[in-house]
């Protein structure tokens, strides 16, 4: 049995569902926003974990070989705000369901893509960068600080030009609208009040000029790379995601040592899947970051990379 924990609207998961169906594999897609309307029961000491499978329930203990854990939905998130329970009920309900799903980690011998705890840890860019150094990647000179003074000194030491980005999620969720902070070029902090840096630490990194960007999608022992090029100009911005309509993604081979480092890095992070951003400056490759749950549907459909097929291979085998 293969379990998919996701949400209804994650279209990338649909590619996996199509592949599993094509192969006749037994799977359950549990969209976790629907958990409050489902029938789940765990029994102990004779361990039993029953989860809904359509109109039936399925025993997972002894049957589960792999889990695709990808962007699970929040209970009640599709409910109109006027019909939502109180905030404290909502929080309580979500925490209780979270604990129940967390209990799935107790079933032995299951391949998780990805293990949610490893996913969470690897969202931290300090952990990412240090692990990258440990596997032998070059990384840009980096200063993570809450001190304006230290940041200014770092900018000077980098010749007066750095990039700044978020240490954790770049998503700012507001009541009616959400925002995203992309990597931004910074030349000076002269007019910035110190408390703005103090309120939340920032990553500053040396700016890589004349770079070539790559997105490397690693799944177990496989690595699929695309080179990112602008359709309109010679170079692309500090953060290629800001120009997504004007980019082309060209499947390519990485040098063997870099490909191996990507695979080794993902494994050392305790992950099976990882979307790595690299840049090449002259002949040198630099690790920028990994997105443990990076988006890939656009590479499957646009660049025709066999990402769903490869994830499915791992899910079906239940091991790497």
């Amino acid at each position: 049995m293969i379990l998919i924990l996701s949400n209804k609207w994650d279209i990338s998961v649909d590619f996996i569902v199509r592949e599993l169906s094509k192969r006749g594999e037994n799977f359950i897609r549990l969209n976790t926003e629907d958990l409050p309307y489902s029938d789940c029961t765990v029994s102990l000491p004779d361990f039993s974990f029953l989860l809904p499978d359509g109109k039936e329930v399925t025993e997972l203990v002894g049957n589960l070989k792999s889990v695709l854990f990808r962007r699970p939905g929040k209970p009640f998130e599709e409910v109109e705000s006027s019909n939502l329970p109180s905030e404290h009920t909502l929080r309580y309900s979500r925490e209780q369901w979270h604990a129940l799903i967390e209990g799935l980690l107790s079933i032995n011998g299951v391949l998780w893509i990805n293990n949610p705890r490893a996913n969470d840890l690897m969202e931290c860019k300090i952990v990412q960068l240090w692990k990258a150094v440990e596997v032998g990647f070059r990384i840009p000179r980096t200063c993570i600080t809450s001190s304006k003074e230290k940041a200014e000194k770092f900018i000077q030491s980098c010749g007066g030009c750095v990039v700044a980005k978020s240490l954790y999620s770049s998503l700012i969720e507001c009541t009616n609208k959400d925002f995203f902070v992309f990597t931004t070029i910074i030349k000076s902090l002269k007019d910035i009040p110190s408390p703005e840096i103090g309120i939340a630490p920032v990553i500053f990194q040396e700016y890589m000029d004349r770079k070539i960007d790559y997105r490397v999608t690693v799944i177990g022992e496989k690595a699929y790379a695309v080179r990112i090029e602008s359709t309109k100009r010679e170079s692309i911005p500090a953060d290629w995601r800001t120009e997504k309509g004007e980019l082309k993604f060209i499947p390519c081979e990485l040098p063997n040592n870099i490909r191996k480092k990507c695979i080794s890095f993902v494994s050392r992070c305790g992950l099976v899947f990882g979307a790595i951003d690299l840049v090449q400056v002259n002949d040198d490759f630099y690790f920028l970051e990994i997105n443990p749950n990076g988006e890939w549907g656009w590479l499957q459909k646009g660049a025709r990379l066999p990402i769903a097929e490869t994830i499915t291979d791992c899910l079906v085998k239940g091991k790497l």
Binding site: D14, R71, E123, K177, F180, I197, A200, K244, N293, W298
Partner: protein, 76 residues
């Protein structure tokens, strides 16, 4: 008094897709097929097979490039 915001908020940009689940009637989730479906040329097909669109534009249905959404562990 101006409310203090983190430095990087100066550079924030609106998300590239709508921030909340949009109820787009062209798409629906089919429990039997465990996929999002749409109507194309008179046939109901999985949206990933569609040549005309990539599915509903929600942050959670984003097969467009780059807008990586974090899981924040699960939903905490």
């Amino acid at each position: 008094m101006k409310v203090l915001e983190p430095f990087l908020f100066r550079f924030k940009k609106e998300c590239l897709s709508p921030n909340r689940v949009a109820h787009d009637e062209r798409f629906y989730y089919d429990q039997e097929f465990s996929q999002v479906m749409t109507m194309e040329n008179g046939c109901v097909i999985p949206v990933i097979e569609s040549k005309q669109n990539n599915g509903p534009k929600t942050k959670k249905a984003d097969i467009e490039k780059g807008e990586d959404q974090k899981d924040r562990w699960m939903w905490r």
